[in-house]
């Protein structure tokens, strides 16, 4: 039995040779990022280094895949319409159906999960009509039903993710 998630897109490393500066960069600036003329300079002052080192480190962390971006996380449905969706796909079709779904640029997450509903994905579109069209399209192409589960209420305050280094 494996405890790790297999990744269809890339091979992940097992060790992370992150230095102290990188750990601070990853953990301490996930929210309340400085809205000042030279934000990286301000971070550099806090961490006791130079602006260029901060910029270079962030570029490297991004290239290594540890950082997706420095930027905004938008509240769900504030600037588009999205929904979680689930399908119960026969094992022998899972690979092809999952690939078909991942090919939509409107799909951002797509995971296999241990359940009778074994394929879970998120669709984000410009509005509810576009969203509906994509769900229809997926049902027609897969000849399977899509269970859609839009968010009704959000109870989580997003302060990023507290990384603990072991």
């Amino acid at each position: 039995m494996t405890t790790d998630i297999q990744d269809s897109n890339r091979n992940s490393q097992d060790t992370y040779p992150l230095n102290g500066l990188e750990k601070h960069l990853l953990n301490d600036f996930q929210y309340e990022f400085p809205l000042v003329s030279r934000p990286y300079q301000q971070i550099a002052e806090k961490l006791g280094t130079s602006e260029q080192v901060i910029i270079d480190s962030l570029k490297q962390l991004q290239e290594q895949g540890f950082v997706s971006r420095v930027g905004a996380v938008f509240r769900t449905n504030s600037i588009g319409a999205s929904t979680l969706a689930a399908m119960s796909v026969p094992d022998n079709q899972l690979e092809s159906v999952a690939t078909m779904i991942s090919d939509y640029s409107e799909v951002n997450h797509n995971y296999q999960r241990e359940h009778h509903f074994n394929l879970w994905f998120v669709v984000t579109a410009s509005d509810e009509h576009a969203l509906n069209t994509i769900l229809d399209d997926i049902e027609q192409r897969s000849e399977l039903q899509v269970m859609y589960l839009p968010m009704l209420e959000d109870y989580h305050i997003d302060l990023g993710f507290d990384l603990t280094w072991t």
Binding site: S12, Q30, S68, R69, V70, G71, V73, N77, E128, M147
Partner: protein
């Protein structure tokens, strides 16, 4: 002819408060803040705005809760949080809000949403995403939640992910008729 929407409870996007400039800024910022000495000035150049205006508009988008969080967006999986479980709970309707908030306050939880039940197939109405470095770690976190939020009598299921086919942050193209595309919050 208007096509009838057979999913009447799909979410309606609510970007009515945004003006053209906001929309242009949102479209541009989704690729991330430039990694340059003066990133807000650089964004402004592309938008025909001053640095000050870019910063003010971003502040407003945060105050209005259109931007939920602004900062370094990390990728959990790459950082060693290899295991994630969507844990779903069948909570009495009148308790969803209280239990959702209780679960949502812990740092290993990245999402706590109420969603509709789909009976008879799907009775669960509270969805929480729990991360951990491995499966045992995640299960320990779930047990912690059960104790802290008094969930021992609430029926739940733990759906570990076994394979990631795709994950990136949502990139919205909300303001033209073309459609969307990167990981973090979810639907």
């Amino acid at each position: 002819m208007k096509v009838r929407n057979r999913r009447p409870d799909l979410p309606v996007s609510s970007h009515v408060k945004l003006d053209k400039q906001d929309k242009a800024l949102i479209t541009l910022i989704q690729a991330g803040l430039p990694l340059s000495s003066t990133p807000y000035t650089d964004l402004g150049h592309d938008l025909g705005m001053t640095e000050r205006e870019v910063i003010e508009r971003l502040k407003h988008l945060m105050q209005d809760n259109i931007i939920k969080r602004f900062g370094v967006v990390v990728r959990h999986h790459e950082l060693g949080y290899r295991s994630n479980a969507m844990t779903v709970w069948n909570v009495p309707d009148e308790q969803v809000s209280e239990l959702g908030h209780c679960i949502g306050q812990f740092d290993f939880v990245t999402l706590s949403y109420r969603r509709p039940r789909r009976l008879p197939d799907w009775p669960y109405n509270l969805f929480t995403m729990i991360h951990g470095q491995n499966r045992g770690h995640v299960l320990k976190n779930i047990q912690f939640l059960i104790e802290r939020c008094n969930l021992d009598r609430v029926e739940h299921q733990v759906l570990f992910s076994t394979r990631r086919f795709k994950q990136r942050g949502a990139i919205y193209h909300p303001f033209n008729k073309g459609l969307s595309d990167d990981p973090q919050t979810a639907g």
